[in-house]
């Protein structure tokens, strides 16, 4: 099968997956005991005020009718209306999703650019001091609680040393750039303000490191172990016997053949990160999806919860698809 038709087929599968997700989340969200109209009206509100709100939000309609109305809206690109923020969920996503996307992509960049070389170096100099150091670094990363790491980073680099700024995406007194992509690293450049860009870079360093550390550690360990297993295979010995240089052997033969598990784990990690890293976002006051969805759940803001789930499900499916397509490039034996 041609790869294009494979991709199209996978995209077709997306429709039932997303409908299934909406149905599942709708049922679960409405099974939670609690009344969003009461949450919205305030805890001292009279029953009359709560009933008015329930009618205004359409929450007095039967559940199947509410679901069908939601689906109809969805087909027209309408993600619904946030009960808490009293505005379209699409607008909320526009505000909160870019922050998470920016942080996730920066973290992944950090993971791959540090984790990959570290894993390779560990595998080449296996059981040597550099390997031990890299393993200690990885074990530390996998086992360190994120909230503790985040606070320590802020305490050291912001409060004590003053080398990096505190929480948030920009300094307190700096006006955010005009919204084009919502990614400050890009929008500040589009605005032509290198000062703001530098500030945005300075602000993303600590949260990106904090968020990436766990995944970085995992990637390092996976690259190391898969490199070691590939390095022991016959074709590598043959390559060496043929006098091919060690650099070519490592980078072309070993690395390429050990990349499949790395790509899998990287893809899954991006999906996970896009779901919002609530702890990192809370500690570094990063206005992303993690904070948004926790607030929405606490407030029983059903449309917001559904919108969030849909976006994350979509991201997961697309990333998985991208990972599957990459397999074909990495391993010629895989054909679609």
């Amino acid at each position: 099968m041609h790869i294009l038709s494979y991709v199209l087929k996978r995209l077709m599968y997306l429709i039932p997956v997303l409908i299934g997700v909406t149905l599942l989340v709708f049922v679960i969200a409405h099974a939670i005991p609690g009344d969003p109209a009461r949450m919205m009206a305030g805890q001292k509100a009279s029953r009359e005020a709560v009933e008015n709100l329930r009618r205004a939000m359409g929450l007095d309609r039967p559940l199947p009718e509410q679901y069908l109305r939601y689906l109809t809206g969805l087909l027209q690109g309408d993600l619904g209306f946030s009960i808490r923020n009293q505005r379209p969920v699409r607008e909320d996503m526009r505000d909160f999703f870019p922050a998470t996307l920016e942080l996730s992509l920066t973290s992944m960049l950090l993971c791959v650019s540090v984790g990959l070389p570290l894993g390779i170096v560990s595998a080449i100099w296996r059981n040597r001091p550099i390997d031990h150091a890299s393993r200690v670094f990885s074990v530390f990363g996998v086992s360190m609680p994120v909230f503790w790491l985040g606070l320590m980073l802020l305490l050291l680099f912001y409060r004590q040393l003053g080398w990096l700024p505190g929480s948030g995406r920009l300094d307190i007194g700096i006006d955010p750039p005009a919204h084009v992509t919502g990614l400050y690293l890009i929008d500040t450049l589009l605005e032509g303000s290198t000062g703001k860009f530098g500030n945005a870079v300075a602000h993303i360093i600590l949260p990106a490191f904090c968020l990436s550390y766990v995944y970085l550690a995992i990637i390092t360990r996976i690259v190391r172990s898969s490199m070691i297993s590939v390095m022991g295979l016959d074709f590598i010995t043959t390559a060496r016997a043929n006098g091919i240089s060690e650099v070519v052997i490592i980078l072309k033969h070993c690395l390429k053949n050990s990349l499949i598990p790395t790509v899998t784990i990287t893809g899954l990690s991006i999906g996970e990160l896009l779901g919002g890293a609530i702890l990192t976002e809370t500690i570094f006051n990063w206005p992303g999806m993690g904070k948004y969805v926790v607030d929405s759940v606490n407030f029983l803001d059903f449309p917001a919860i559904m919108g969030f789930t849909l976006v994350v499900a979509l991201a997961y499916v697309m990333i998985n698809l991208a990972v599957d397509v990459m397999y074909a490039f990495l391993d010629p034996q895989i054909r679609y």
Partner: protein, 518 residues
């Protein structure tokens, strides 16, 4: 190559400068407040959330405002947009004379029409804030500067309700933003249009909200030019920013970090007695708890001082009766329960539970201290033979259970919306208010109903106090709640901040118009 190097140098300088620059709180014209919750809505007719009111309140004028006596906030009101007022002898009709010369940003005058429009809009929308001014029957603009408000029935605290956020006077021209008959709710959810001393000039969700002072404000000119509200959920983050001088006021620092902050010479940590109280609802409709002897026994079992000393670290006062200290109507000699294990056991015996009983306490994580308090209550009640099962649940679930009366004991908190004891007495004990609206212990006593309803309809404060005092004596014997404590509000701030006034009626809100920085 040279260009690339130059670019890299600029970037490096940018990063370095952003870290090494002077703290943002150093600007004397700008106040930076670190707060723990984002804003969600800006419409005074829709929002019931103090965190929203923090931004809405300074953007609007109201007919009356809370008095400031010296540097202390008061629960009494004084004229604001209204110059003066009169009330009919039966307390049913209030006539306000509106100050001339107040205008909205587009030049529209704040007059009787604007007041009528604003109040009618709140009532027509009928959401949470409508309850605050729900005593109003009709509003008439007699002439440009006279507005007549008729009430459904005489309502003692009416004037106080006009100082609440719900009574903010909005520009009638907002109706040009109306869509599908929504009375401009969609637009007002994200914008303000008032005549107050500040206006919102930027709101980046989840990041910050910026208010700019209006130089031509009709009242005393604000001393600050700009206020930045920075949303910072994490307590440690706020603490670091406060100590570094990046923020001037930190609103959400946890109590266990306060002693460390107090050691910083650049920070002051004032404490104010608040009207926020925490208490335990005892569901009077449930078997076992429908016996007042059992409820009294539970009240005698609790170690009130232990909770205040160890959980609140001394930042609270045990409640005496349902009306907290500082609110008129408080009865300083009403029965106050103290820990008395022998008496509690004796009461349980009289109630027929000498072998003890099993009860369940529900609570949520809404307050960090509740886990500890629940555990202390469990151990206190164990001393009198009550096996207290603890059930932690999500706040929406808990609220649902309280509303339906599906619980035995529940931990809760309450703060009044306006300065009147009815916010405690009528909300908590009137049998018409079963469930979340206020009577969360589902308590019913006809004598109490009669006393508190009578008091609410009177205008004479002395008579009202007398009736509330009588009701309090009955209530304390009936013991429908365990009154734990009234809290202290702690507002850590930089020493340079001057003129902050705490008002117990305006929890989490600030008098930006009179704050300055040295």
């Amino acid at each position: 190559m040279k260009r690339k190097a130059l670019w890299m140098l600029t970037l490096a300088c940018g990063i370095w400068l952003s870290a090494a620059g002077s703290p943002w709180g150093a600007d004397k014209d700008t106040l930076v407040v670190g707060v723990s919750s984002d804003i969600h809505l800006l419409d005074p007719a829709v929002s019931s959330d103090n965190y929203d009111w923090r931004q809405i309140y300074p953007s609007y004028d109201r007919l009356v405002k809370y008095k400031v006596a010296g540097d202390e906030g008061s629960t009494e009101v004084e004229p604001m947009a209204a110059e003066s007022w009169t009330v009919s002898p039966d307390g049913m009709v209030w006539t306000f004379k509106i100050r001339k010369g107040i205008t909205f940003d587009d030049g529209t005058p704040l007059d009787a029409t604007a007041v009528k429009f604003s109040f009618e809009r709140v009532l027509k929308i009928g959401k949470g804030p409508a309850d605050n001014i729900g005593a109003i029957q009709s509003v008439d603009a007699v002439d440009g500067s006279t507005v007549k408000i008729s009430l459904k029935s005489a309502f003692g605290p009416f004037l106080q309700t006009l100082a609440t956020d719900a009574a903010s006077i909005v520009n009638p021209n907002i109706m040009k933003h109306e869509k599908n008959g929504d009375l401009a709710q969609a637009w007002m959810a994200q914008n303000t249009d008032g005549s107050g001393p500040f206006k919102i000039v930027e709101w980046s969700r989840g990041e910050r909200c910026v208010l700019a002072a209006k130089p031509n404000y009709w009242g005393p000119k604000p001393k600050l030019q700009k206020v930045i509200i920075r949303f910072m959920r994490e307590s440690s983050d706020q603490r670091m920013a406060l100590e570094s001088g990046d923020i001037d006021i930190a609103e959400g620092i946890l109590i266990d970090q306060i002693p460390a902050i107090e050691k910083n010479p650049n920070v002051v940590v004032p404490r104010y007695p608040s009207q926020l109280v925490e208490y335990v609802y005892l569901n009077c409709q449930k078997p076992k708890l429908n016996n007042k002897l059992v409820r009294q026994a539970l009240n005698y079992a609790v170690d009130y001082q232990g909770i205040i000393t160890h959980v609140l670290r001394g930042n609270g006062v045990q409640m005496r009766g349902p009306i907290p200290k500082g609110m008129w109507g408080h009865k300083p000699d009403v029965l106050q329960y103290q820990k008395d294990v022998a008496k509690a056991k004796d009461l349980l015996k009289q109630a027929g539970f000498e072998k003890g009983l099993d009860l369940t306490l529900i609570y949520s994580e809404r307050r960090a201290s509740w886990e500890q308090i629940a555990t202390i209550l469990q151990s206190n009640l164990a001393e009198i033979g009550v096996n207290l099962k603890l059930e932690l649940m999500a706040n929406p679930t808990l609220r649902d259970k309280v509303d339906r009366g599906d619980f035995e004991l529940c931990l809760g908190a309450w703060s009044p919306d306006y300065a009147d004891p009815s916010m405690f007495m009528n909300f908590w004990f009137d049998s018409k208010n079963f469930g979340l609206p206020g009577n969360r212990s589902h308590y019913k006593n006809d004598q109490v109903d009669e006393l508190i309803r009578k008091s609410l309809a009177l205008a004479d404060v002395k008579q009202r106090v007398e009736l509330y005092h009588q009701a309090q004596d009955v209530i304390m014997q009936d013991a429908p709640y365990i009154f734990l404590y009234q809290t202290q509000t702690i507002v850590p701030m930089r020493k340079a901040v001057k003129g902050y006034v705490y008002n117990p009626m305006l929890e989490s809100m600030y008098n930006f118009e009179s704050i300055s920085k040295e």
